[in-house]
Structures are given as C-alpha cells and as structure tokens.
C-alpha cells in the first residue's frame, strides 16, 4: 500500500462526519480537544469582561455603577468562571488534544467519554451563563461559605445555580481525568516505557490523579449544601448539630489541590517548551518527575492555610504553615531546573519564550507572596484583603495564563499547519505583561493599606483612590493586550500561510506527523527507543506514513490502536474504538435534564431523568464486546496480541478502577465529615441516637462478606468455560440483601431535619444504597450478557469489572453499617 492510499483508507475509517452534524457526533480527541479549548477561551473572555467591570467599578470611589448585589454577582462569577469554566477545561482541552499525539497513539482510551465530558461541560457552562444573563447569578463569592450561602441567608436560586451547575461541570473533569489516567498508563506507542514518556505526560498523569482525589470533596460539599438548602438537612447549621466550618474544610480540601491542578499542566507546558526554545533537553527529568509527585502529595496537606483566621489552635496551624512552606521546595526545584535548562542550551527569544519569561517573573513573585501568606501571623493581617487577590492572580495569571499562551503559540503551527502572519503577538505580550503588573502590584499595596476584598466601593478619604485608579487603568491595558493576542490567534487560524513541519525543531512525537494532524494521527504507530524519537530519527514522519510501524494495515473499518504494559510499554492488546455517534451528547442532555430538575425543583422529573441516564449507560456498555472469540491479531512488525476485549483487564476495567479511586475519596470525605461534626461541631451529642439493631448489622455485613466470594466463584467458572449464571445470580442476591439492610438503616435513622446526625446517617445510608443498586444493575447486565453469549473464558472482562464494583460496594456498605451502628451501640 502506498502512503497516499493508506492515508485515504485511514481517513475513511477515522474521519468525523462532515459538516454541521459532525460537531455533535464526533468522538475524535483532536476535535474534542479543540472544542474544549475554544469553549474555555470563550469563558476566559466572559470572565475577563466581568473583571473589567469590576475594575471599572473600583476605579474611583465615584465610579461605582453597579449596586452591591450586582457587584457580588460580578466577583463571584468572575472567580467561578475563571476557575471552573476556563482554567480546568483549558487544561483538559490541551491534554485531550496533545496526549495521544505525544504518546504516539491514535486516540484516548474512551473516545465517547471524551465527548460526554465535553457536552457536560458545554451544558453545565450554559447553565451558569444563563444565570448571569437572567441576573440570578451566584453571589456568595467563589468559595460560597455557609451560612451566607445557606437557605436562611440566601433563599434565592442564585446559590443553587452554583452548586448544581458546578457539580454538572465537574462530571466533565472527572471523565477527563479517568480517561487521561488510563490513556497515559495503557495507550502509548510500543516501547515507550514510563521513563521514556514525554515529561508533559507525567504532568498530566499526576494532574489527572489529583483531579480524581481533589474534586470529590467539593462534589460532596455541594451535595450536602444543596440538601440543606432544598430539604433542610442541617449539615452547616450550628444550632442543629452542623458546622459551617465543615464546608470550609471540604471546600479547601478541593480548593488547594485545585491550584496545583491548574499549575501543574502549565508547568508541563514549560518543561516541554523551554528545552525546545533553548535547543537542548530538559535538565533533571527524574528530579522533575519526583518533584511533581511530591507536589501532588504535599498539596493535599495544605488546605488549612486558607483557614488560618478561623481560630484553629496555634500548634495545628503551625503544622500547616510548615507544610505550606515546604510545598515551595518542589516548585523551586522545577523553577531552577528550567533556569538550568536555559543555561545548558542557547535560549532563543521567540514568542513562546517571551511568555515563558513573563511566567518566570510573575510566578516567582506569586510564589514569594505565597510563602508570605503561609506565615500565619502575616496571613492574619492580609487575609481577605486585596493583597490576597493580588497574590492569587500572580499565581494564576503568572502560573497559568502566561504558560498557556506560550503553549498556544508553540502548538498553533501544529494545529493549523500555518505560520503567523501579522506579528501582533509580541506587542500583545508587552501590553499584557505591563498591564498585569500595573494592576496587581498596586493591589498588593491596597491590601496592606487595609482595603478588603469584595467591597463594591470605598470612601474617598480612605486614601486608596490613586492606587485603585492606577490598577484600573493598567487592567485596561492588559485587556487590550489580551484582545490583541486573541486577534493574532484568530488571524493565524484563518489566514493560511503554509508553514514548515515542526518549525521549532522539537523532538517529541506530536510533530512527527502531518500538520494539521490527520484524524488518525499516525498512519502506523512508532516503536519508541528514546525520549525524543523525532530528534533521533528525522525520517520518522515519512517512515510512519509508509507503514513501517505497527498497525499500518487497517483491518476492515476498525479504528485500531494498541494497549501496552504500564511500565515497559510492551504491546499487550489491540484496542478497537467505537466510531462516530451522537450517544454522548444525548446522554449529556438527559444528564442535564437531571440537574435542571434539581435546580428548578421539579422533583417528579428527577427519577425519570435518572432512569434515562441509566438506560443510556446500558446502551453504551451494550454496544461494546463481541459474541465470538477473535483470537490473536497481527499488529505488524511480526507481532501478535489479543483484542483488548479478550484480555483479563479490558479498557472498562481500568476505567472502573480509576473511577473507584475518585469514588473512594468521595466516601472518605463523607466519613471525614461525619467524624468532624461529631468531634468539632457544637450541638452534639444529638437528642436521639439510632437504635442499635444486631439483625441489620449481621445480615448486612454477612451479605457484604459473601458477595465478593460469590463473584469470585462466578469469575472462576467463567474462566473455566462453565456456566456462571447461578453464581452471578447469587451475588446479585447478596447485594439485594445488603440493599435491604441499608434501606432499613435509612428508615430507622432519627429525623434528618432535626439534627445533623440524622442527616449524616441518611446520606451514608443513601451512599451505600446507591452503590448496591448500581452494582445490582451491573450484575443483572452481566447475567444477560452471559446468556447472550458475550462472555467466554477469553472474553471474561465484564465479570471482572463487576467484581471490582461488588468488592467496592461490599466494603463501602460494611463501613456504612459499622459507622452508623457502632457509636449507637456504644452510647
């Protein structure tokens, strides 16, 4: 087959549908990555406009044009949109677009999930935006502290928009995180062992793991607060056994890692781009990987530094103060590794490099003020002042916006295949840089002079007028700079001046294909022997196009790629992807109906929406698999591997495993909340305890112990090609028993509206019950699949996935019963 013929064949298999419909049915990571990026930059614009309105309001004491109610919506939505609808999705977009290309493969692990995640983001974002358009936007600040955000002080729908809309959007972050973890670990070019992975993939892997463990506490907090608002479950009301501090803990358990979730991918861009700009390789690859991992761990031990003024005992805050300064060490390692890289090479002052210099200067200042506010007594003074606002923008703008602009300018030639036409970018950078520092340097001073954050105006005699005016004028200069950059990028997208392939001379794989990249990325997959394969083999693009790699001969109309061993990158299985479908967008739409029914309080609709989502999920899963064993597959270069669905751990198994990591974090946060209320909240002990029931505990735990055994029997029988329906049905039976005990717990628990204790038991019981029902559905699904011939000794993946969920549900169910009963029994 000639290269051109191969291109046509693959293009026919992989291309998205043409025209309008293609937008809704595409599952290609290149399409979806760009859609994520476009949408996120749209939100950057929206939040930027809000920021301009804020600065216009504060320019002088007399320029206040908005009422304080409107102003509250402005700063809340500015912060919320920037964090949830711009920063996180922009990262997801970058990663979704680049990761498969950098790893030398053809798509992410679950193309339909990418699409589902995108549409959840699009719909959730639209929901948030509509609140702004209706003038009903959230107004409690981006961290939404109760009681201010509780039902008593904020009865309107504004806060519900936040809680429900953000939870909806977070589904997309969780989907993307699961997908990126599995893709990076299992979907790489053969031979690419972990230590040969491009450094960017390490950053994204760690970031994705952090999303899985960082977002659940906020999702839990949002659910609890919405339950309090909608149904009066008093989790955050001190007089009913709740505690508003619980929200702060849950929020910052998310909120601090969030900062690193935003920063790490940006640092990944820097670690990728700096060596290329300096025409060398990265200094201290191993050290950098170690410091990313250290950063991830440390960042979960810092959240209390956002709560230094809440009266936590001094020894406690001293610990968190130490941890917060310690986290600066791995950051310093990276910064100095980058500077060392520049010393090692010969840096060129091209446009991405300008933004990187902007990053250095800005981020170092942000880091230094960060260390300052980690010093507790100083934080007591500047907390909740303009100093904090200034600090956080140095970190977020310096640590995120500059790097992402560097990244956009660096990879644009890849995306478009063109080069820049008018050189607006340089002047745009200068304006942005000067404007930024003018704005926020000034705001540090305002904070020191006592200006609180979030005030909608100030007195003329406070002495802040001149500085505020400077900040506002500078912020408009920055806005002009950013607008110019945007125009520059748009011109680049639409004015086609063919550029050469790989204009920067980079060594990573994303450049080793056509630009713009074809729908299938690589005509055949490379065999990797070093960290910079393209530098080592300059003929790589044409070699791959000629089909010298793996999977150069497409079979039928299958979308094929390879799964590899995690550590070594040895090919393990041939994965076949689903092709274009509108299933994801439709499922996202019914998911939206679910959230909308909660928002508008049309609760009769909620169960229907849940059933619809479940039905879509079943259809989704049903479309995978086969009823016949296909046996070993030729993948080229004289190698044979089985199909992915004929391995013990098919893609779905890996996805489930990572989803369960997030799920366990959620459950852990719930248990933390229970223990926290118990030990810290005023208003305990509750007026009434659960009455201990030996029957409920014994049957429930007995069932939970039996279920994992039975599902293993079923698995063993599947592997031995013997009928496994009875054992599977028996497992289902034990799960039903467990569910019955949990229902009994829920019904017998003290009233959930009278005390936070009863409310917590309700949530615990419901969590267990939800999992029992979910696992029950999965088992029923597996049983039907067995009867229809989808399961065999080779195709044993689905029962293995069921086993994961059975084990988890049994464990979680047991814990639910224990933590509910043991205290009741002891008192």
């Amino acid at each position: 087959m000639t290269a051109l013929k191969r291109h046509r064949r693959l293009e026919a298999i992989w291309a998205s549908e043409k025209g309008f419909r293609g937008w809704f049915s595409t599952v290609s990571h290149s399409d979806l990555g760009r859609m994520f990026l476009f949408t996120s930059f749209f939100y950057f614009g929206v939040a930027g406009i809000l920021a301009m309105l804020i600065r216009a309001q504060l320019a002088t004491p007399h320029s206040a044009w908005a009422s304080e109610e409107v102003y509250a919506q402005l700063f809340t939505m500015h912060g919320t949109i920037m964090m949830f609808l711009f920063a996180i999705p922009a990262i997801e977009g970058m990663a979704v677009y680049l990761i498969p290309k950098m790893l030398g493969t053809r798509d992410l692990a679950y193309p339909r999930l990418t699409a589902y995640g995108f549409w959840c983001y699009a719909f959730g974002g639209a929901m948030m935006l509509s609140s702004l358009a209706l003038g009903l936007a959230p107004d409690g600040g981006w961290f939404m502290y109760p009681p201010l955000s509780g039902g008593i002080h904020a009865p309107g729908i504004n806060t519900d928009f936040w809680l429900i809309g953000i939870t909806f959007v977070e589904i997309s972050a969780i989907c993307a995180a699961v997908e990126l973890c599995v893709s990076i670990l299992k979907y790489r070019a053969p031979g690419m062992s972990l230590d040969k992975m491009p450094i960017f993939a390490w950053y994204i892997l760690v970031t994705a793991l952090m999303i899985l463990t960082g977002f659940p506490p906020l999702i839990l907090g949002s659910i609890l607060l919405e339950l309090e608002r909608a149904f009066g479950l008093p989790f955050f009301q001190a007089d009913l056994g709740g505690d508003s501090l619980l929200w702060q803990h849950l929020f910052w358990l998310f909120g601090h890692p969030e900062v690193y979730i935003i920063f790490l991918p940006a640092a990944g861009i820097l670690s990728t781009v700096i060596p290329v700009m300096a025409r060398t390789t990265l200094l201290g690859y191993g050290w950098i990987v170690a410091s990313i991992v250290a950063l991830a761990f440390l960042s979960f031990g810092l959240w209390v530094h956002h709560m230094f003024t809440t009266g936590i005992p001094h020894m406690g805050v001293a610990f968190f103060s130490a941890a917060s300064t310690l986290v600066a060490v791995p950051t310093a390692v990276q910064v100095f590794a980058w500077i060392g890289t520049m010393w090692k090479g010969r840096p060129d002052l091209r446009l991405p490099m300008l933004h990187i210099l902007g990053f250095f200067f800005t981020f170092v200042i942000g880091g230094l003020t960060g260390v300052m506010v980690a010093i507790v007594p100083f934080d007591w003074q500047v907390h909740d002042t303009a100093f904090i606002t200034a600090h956080l923008h140095y970190v977020l703008f310096g640590g995120f916006v500059f790097p992402i602009l560097a990244g956009v300018y660096y990879w644009l030639p890849l995306v478009t295949g063109c080069r820049r036409f008018f050189k607006l970018g340089e002047s745009a950078f200068v304006l942005t840089f000067l404007g930024f520092h003018g704005t926020f340097l000034a705001m540090h001073v305002l904070g020191l002079l006592g200006q609180r954050r979030r005030i909608h105006t100030y007195d003329a005699d406070a002495g802040w007028t001149a500085i505020n005016l400077i900040a506002s004028i500078a912020s408009f200069i920055m806005a002009i700079g950013l607008a110019l950059a945007l125009i520059d990028i748009i011109i680049h997208l639409f004015v086609a001046v063919r550029g050469k392939r790989s204009p920067w001379g980079a060594g990573t794989l994303e450049w080793a294909t056509m630009s713009p990249p074809p729908s299938y990325n690589f005509a055949s997959l490379p065999h990797i022997t070093s960290r910079e394969p393209y530098s080592d083999t300059p003929t790589l693009p044409s070699d791959l196009a000629r089909g010298t790699g793996y999977l150069g001969d497409p079979q039928g109309d299958r979308r094929e790629t390879l799964m590899v061993d995690i550590a070594s990158g040895r090919p393990e299985a041939l994965a076949v992807y689903p092709s274009n479908t509108t299933l994801p967008i439709r499922m996202a739409a019914v998911t939206g109906v679910f959230f909308l029914s909660l928002l508008l309080k049309v609760y009769w609709l909620t169960p229907f929406a849940v059933i619809a989502v479940a039905a879509f999920a079943v259809r989704w899963a049903w479309s995978l698999g086969a009823t016949r064993d296909a046996g070993p597959q030729l993948i080229g270069r004289d190698m044979q591997v089985p199909l992915a669905i004929e391995t013990e751990k098919p893609p779905g198994w890996w996805g489930s495993a990572f989803l369960l990591v997030a799920n366990a974090t959620f459950f852990g946060s719930l248990l933390f909340g229970y223990a926290f209320l118990w030990s810290i909240a005023p208003g305990w002990p509750p007026p009434e305890w659960l009455t201990f029931s030996i029957l409920e505990v014994a049957i429930g735990i007995g069932a939970a112990l039996a279920a994992p055994v039975l599902i293993r029997v079923a698995n063993a029988r599947v592997n031995a090609s013997r009928p496994a329906t009875p054992a599977s049905a028996a497992t289902l039976g034990t799960i039903v028993l467990l569910a019955v005990c949990l229902v009994s717990l829920i019904l017998r628990a003290p009233s959930p509206t009278e005390h936070a204790y009863g409310a917590t038991l309700l949530v615990l019981g419901s969590y267990g019950l939800f999992h029992a029902v979910l696992t029950g559905i999965m088992l029923a699904f597996v049983i039907v699949r067995m009867r229809r011939g989808y399961v065999s000794a080779a195709r044993s993946g689905e029962p293995a996935i069921a086993r994961l969920w059975v084990d988890y549900t049994a464990g979680a169910g047991t814990l639910c019963l224990l933590v509910a009963h043991v205290p009741a029994w002891l008192t």
Partner: protein, 205 residues
C-alpha cells in the same frame, strides 16, 4: 487602616515580619531575574549535565530554597506563638457580630451595659476579645492593632489586642457577609486609666 502603621505590639510584630519578608523577597526575585537573564548570554562551552544538575537542582532548588524557608518558618512560628500566648491579667471583653452590627460586652457587673459598634478598651493593657456571631461568618479586624480572627456560628475565638496609646482605631468585618458588607465597621476606643474606670462604672456612654 494601614497594617504598616501599627499602634500596638501585635500589629508591630507583624509589620516587622512584613518588612523582613519584603526585603528577602526582593533579593530572591533579583537573583532569579539575573540568573534567567544570564542564560541568554553567549557562552563558549556548556558545562556537563551532572554538574548542572548539582548546581541547579541540588544546590539552588533543594539547598537554597530549604535553607531560606526553614529560617522564615522558624521566625513565623515564633511570632505566631508569641501573639497567641496566654496573657496574664488581661482585660476580657466579648464581641458578638451580626448582620446588624457588633455588640461588645465588658467585665464586671451590671453598671456597664453593652455597647454597639464601639469597643472601649484600656490603653496600654492586653485585652482578650472573645468573638462569636449570631448569624453568618464575620471577622474581627482592627488593622492597626492586630491581625483578624473570624466570628463563626457556634464557636468562640479569642484575640489579644493592645493599643499603646489612647485613641480611636478603625475596625471592620473582614469576611464577606452579603449586602451591607461595606458598612460593617466598628471602632475601638482606647482610653487612659481614668477614662477606662469612668467607662466601666457607667459614667461614660
């Protein structure tokens, strides 16, 4: 309102902390900027990789940063411990925040009623303020006297303040609390001993 214009020991300690940290930060920023700039100069030959790793990663990244941070941390913790140390024979007052304003209570018997939005304290003495709230979260902050501490429903937090000289000091609620936030302010009046006695006995409003 400026924290750089302290009028009591707590605020003064923190202002000193600020000036130290500012100086250190400016030096570090200058260092990093110079190091970055120097990487652009033309060089004859490039040192080998292992050497660079030692200098930049072990030396600067780990060694330098840890040394600076450890010193700063020790200084910070010591300051914090001093500011939160229990004080002997302090005057004890209470502060209750609400959306309507602050209510302050005083030691002693009924002669001295509560005051609204004005806290009276004796100058030159340590005063321990017990702070709580009736509704949402607020924060008690008198920038020239001390750092802030939150007023949280169901909890009581304490803060030690001390004004060196008699005078009036501006205070604000420094946790966003919805409409009316801008105007949630109060005043601290530090009185000389005679006035303080007069105040306590109810002779002064």
């Amino acid at each position: 309102m400026s924290i750089l214009d302290p009028a009591g020991p707590a605020a003064r300690d923190i202002a000193a902390l600020w000036w130290v940290m500012l100086t250190g930060s400016v030096l570090i920023l200058a260092l990093v900027t110079v190091l970055t700039a120097l990487s652009f100069r033309k060089r004859a030959q490039v040192p080998d990789e292992a050497r660079l790793e030692r200098t930049w990663i072990l030396g600067m990244g780990l060694g330098f940063s840890m040394a600076v941070l450890a010193a700063l941390l020790a200084y910070g913790i010591a300051t914090g411990a001093r500011l939160t140390a229990p004080v002997a024979d302090a005057v004890e007052v209470t502060a209750e925040a609400s959306l309507e304003g602050w209510t302050f209570g005083y030691p002693g018997d009924a002669a001295r009623g509560q005051t609204a939005d004005v806290l009276h304290i004796p100058a030159g003495q340590d005063v321990v303020v017990s702070i709580t709230t009736r509704d949402v979260i607020h924060s008690f902050w008198v920038p020239r006297l001390a750092g802030k501490i939150d007023a949280i429903p169901g909890h009581v937090n304490t803060l030690t303040i001390r004004a060196d000289l008699p005078g009036t000091y501006q205070g604000v609620s420094a946790e966003y609390s919805g409409p009316g936030y801008l105007d949630r302010r109060f005043e601290v009046r530090a009185l000389d001993p005679a006035d303080w006695q007069a105040f306590l006995s109810g002779e002064m409003p």
